[in-house]
Symmetry: C2
Subunit: 333 residues, 2 copies
């Protein structure tokens, strides 16, 4: 294993320290317990948005802390849920008196630990709501999940809910639009090479030279099947067919298309895949009116990508277009 780290046990704390020292205008961090929060602290009267989960998916979540997205993020150890204590501390840092909403990817550990943190927060008088993201259509249950996994769609929920909170929507309204987004966005991914967890030191799984894992999650957990490696056009078809089988007819709909890199896949390839996916969507009668292409919800150094589609309406477009100033996503400010 060759990685630009010092010690597998220190990688998350050192990376967060680097992140915060590079971007002090956007975010700050507490080291004990470890969480990242918006520079300048909680915004009085604004709903506080908190997310988190195992590390290794950067820039998710800390890279989306800032104006117009999250107020705080809690990075656990690599691929390991953070415990309730830092989640509670992050919620306290995010609480501007208008309630706190958690955005939780659907993994058993995350669901449990965010739930305990919510109970602790409520016990001290905080109003807490939670929205679950389970956008991965690949499998119904998996290694660490009852039900579907939360993957790249999480970023979409963070952007939409973040914009709603930023413009002053109250807790019920932010929860409503976050739940609507979480229900609307669907994703499926593929892996060309497995990730290597620093503490493990070797790839999480082995793929033959001509083999890919279809329906991969973001922790190297198995997907639907191993298939022969195919062209970008064929891959886009496989992924989109699965997404649209679940989403239903998109003919006549305006949609968001997100092509997300898993970590080690170059932009050159992501844009080839994006072009193929966009053509297919248009052939099925959809209008791609908003797009995002990049490595946003990753799995360490896994090679591969996912395709997410979300039907849009006027409100979702307004919130997607709203200003954001975070490390990994910036627009209009």
């Amino acid at each position: 294993m060759k990685k630009l780290i010092n010690d597998p046990g220190d990688v998350v704390t050192q990376s967060v320290a680097g992140l915060v020292s590079a971007h002090g205008d956007v975010l700050t961090a507490s080291t004990d317990p470890l969480f990242v929060s918006r520079a300048g602290g909680a915004v009085s009267g604004k709903v506080g948005l908190v997310s988190g989960g195992g590390s290794g998916h950067e820039p998710l979540h800390a890279g989306f802390v800032g104006v117009g997205m999250l107020d705080a993020a809690v990075p656990g150890a690599v691929f390991t849920s953070p415990s309730p204590e830092p989640i509670l501390a992050a919620m306290q840092a995010a609480d501007g008196g208008a309630g706190v909403m958690q955005i939780v990817k659907n993994y058993t550990g995350d669901v449990l630990n965010f739930e305990v943190a919510a109970e602790l927060g409520e016990a001290e008088g905080m109003t807490v709501r939670s929205v679950l993201v389970a956008d991965d259509v690949a499998v119904e249950d998996s290694t660490w999940t009852a039900g579907r996994r939360g993957v790249a769609g999480t970023l979409v929920v963070e952007k939409i809910a973040g914009a709603a909170a930023e413009r002053g929507d109250d807790l019920d309204a932010v929860v409503a639009v976050a739940e609507r987004t979480a229900r609307a966005v669907r994703t499926m991914g593929i892996a060309l090479h497995a990730p290597t967890v620093p503490a493990a030191g070797r790839p999480s799984f082995d793929l033959e030279d001509d083999e890919v894992e279809l329906g991969i999650g973001i922790h190297g957990e198995p997907g639907r099947s191993r298939v022969k490696a195919a062209s970008a056009d064929e891959t886009a078809t496989l992924l989109l067919d699965a997404v649209l089988a679940d989403l239903g007819d998109v003919s006549g709909r305006e949609v968001l298309l997100l092509v997300n890199g898993m970590g080690a896949t170059p932009a050159l390839e992501l844009y080839v895949l994006y072009g193929a996916a966009r053509r297919l969507l248009e052939e099925r009668g959809a209008s791609v009116v908003r797009s995002l292409v990049g490595s946003y919800v990753t799995s360490l150094d896994m090679a591969g990508a996912s395709i997410s589609v979300m039907p849009l309406d006027e409100e979702l477009i307004t919130l997607w277009d709203a200003p954001a100033h975070t490390v990994a996503l910036r627009q209009g400010m």
Copy 2:
């Protein structure tokens, strides 16, 4: 070889098509000859900035076309210089009547082809100047270079010169600040794994499991030496020592620190390396007042990173901070 592409011969044109369809608000493309230019066309009275070179370094250069950076970019085949014809066409598209400045990475093919394009442009009455970037301190000559190679520092020159052109500086002034930037920025990189060129189908070189290439370029060309893989702290020291040996004493200076990923290295690791580099610079008395961390000047799916340092003054800070709206870099708008 597993890649999300259709055919090695089509990868650049298909990727550019995807890029332009995703970001039509920022850029547009001509397909024959192939170049990318700013949406809305040349800005009358503004110095036009054009760069380009072999593909495989994305987001460089097309990802930096837009307000506050480049007016046009010319992507060649992978790791292959574009010919004079598309460069000339890009210059024509960028020409707002105030002259055109080329930003050229110091590779023999690029230097030659941009020079021929400049002569053709001048023959038809265009005023053309050219600025060479040769920021890589690793080697004096290499596979495709007489003199030093142009690497991650190119992005810094494009940002600074782009801001100067955008605020209305005349051609002499834009050239002067671009040359000053190109002289001031120094870079050195390391590879953990080689890139795989699509048409070649296998990694450009082989590294043992415990071996890295120190002083790597961005085409898999050899660096200074193969050394044992080391920690992020030790790697930062190796790279910074080389940069500072060339740059001279930075004690008491304000500097820009750019930690650039080579393509397959996750953000988690880049921020660990950034943190280490920043500490070392501060130990040597420098003040890191501006930072950029990400995969901006890449080498396909090569794993590794480079560290760039540039001493700053008030003018360079003003230009670095100026608004930019490109696909890969956005600030203040």
